[in-house]
Amino acid sequence: MTTPSPVMRDQSGFVIELEQFSGPLDLLLHLIHEEEVDITDLPISKIADQFLAVIGDLGLNQAADYLEMAARLLRIKAQMLLPRRLGDDEWEDPRAELVRRLLEYQQIRELVDWLARAAAVRAERFGRGYEAPPPDAPPAPLQIDLNDLLGAAERVIALIPEPMLHRVVPRPLDVEGATAKIHALLAERESFAWSDVVGPGATIVDVLSAFIALLELAKRGTLSLTQPEPFAPMVIRREPPREAA
């Protein structure tokens, strides 16, 4: 067992480790053997006190099982104290169930000893089917000093590309230019399409400029923007000049 387990000495000077017991029944059996009492006529008060002392002094990492047993012992102890009439045949020994379980468990422990012996004998006879020993232990932990670490960190950092920053370049819209172009088109034709305004290869600045110019001219009433149906190409049409207000 690798983890250190809580240790205490019981009154008889024996070292008790909770880890060495496979459960509360095992611990109880140990106490019963230490005290050399008759398992079928358990001095319940004495055993209960000892049990509580042991689990109280040890870290209760398996608390639930041990606490349940502690509660059971205390209940039995209390039941034993209840007054009884002499010659009461109806009286049922409150220890009976616990004694039955202890005997049953003791039987299991005896079988465990038998099984352990059988397994030890079998382990001394090898069959064929030799299994290779487990692979070698993993390599020793990395031996490295601070300078190595810093050097490695620098090499890693050097591999990182320059941080990509977006540079914002002001690109002024050329609304005047677009307006002039539209005017020129309007002079030529009565109606034309959006694609006539922004030819192929138009930059986003061209598109925005043309769009704003069209909206501005439509607002002024120089032209009208219509769309025969949703998502259809827009039709730009010359409006008859209006009388200035």
Binding site: R101, Q107, I108, E110, A116, A118, R125, G127, R128, Y130
Partner: protein
Amino acid sequence: MSPLAKLLEAALFAASRPLTLEELGSLEPESGEAALRAALTELRAAYGDDHGVELAEIAEGWQFLTRREYAEAIDRAQFALRPRRLSPAALETLAIIAYRQPVGRVEVDEIRGVDSGAVVDKLLERGLVEIVTRGEGLGRPLLYGTTAQFLEILGLKDLEELPRLEELSVALRPPTPAEEPE
């Protein structure tokens, strides 16, 4: 040795696990069980005291095993390693399952007085117990039983070789009748 005994010798040499009588019978289906048993007896006798290995009857089958007296030397040279010992908790659980099978976890927990879930899982993983059926009643609990692997690691021929409960020094008696308190 008879031809059949030699065939069995070869098969048992090649196999890395105990072979059952049925498996050995499949080598030469026309030879009957009686002939098979006779050949095994012959083979076992041939591997008498004059050999470092012996023919062992184990896990409801047959297997060549090295003799015990060579364990130390083989182990020391690390030509083969002794299996790891089972923990007391594992042995307790195995004992209960072996004697009560098919048995559910609740019963194992009750007898041991502690939760045995993790131990049972580990035994399942090592192939020492298996789920044999589901019980009646609430939630149809899984019921466990021991495997051939269990017999093999204990060197048992079959479950009959386990000690009978009556032979144990702690005989399980019904609850003692009421006694006068002190």
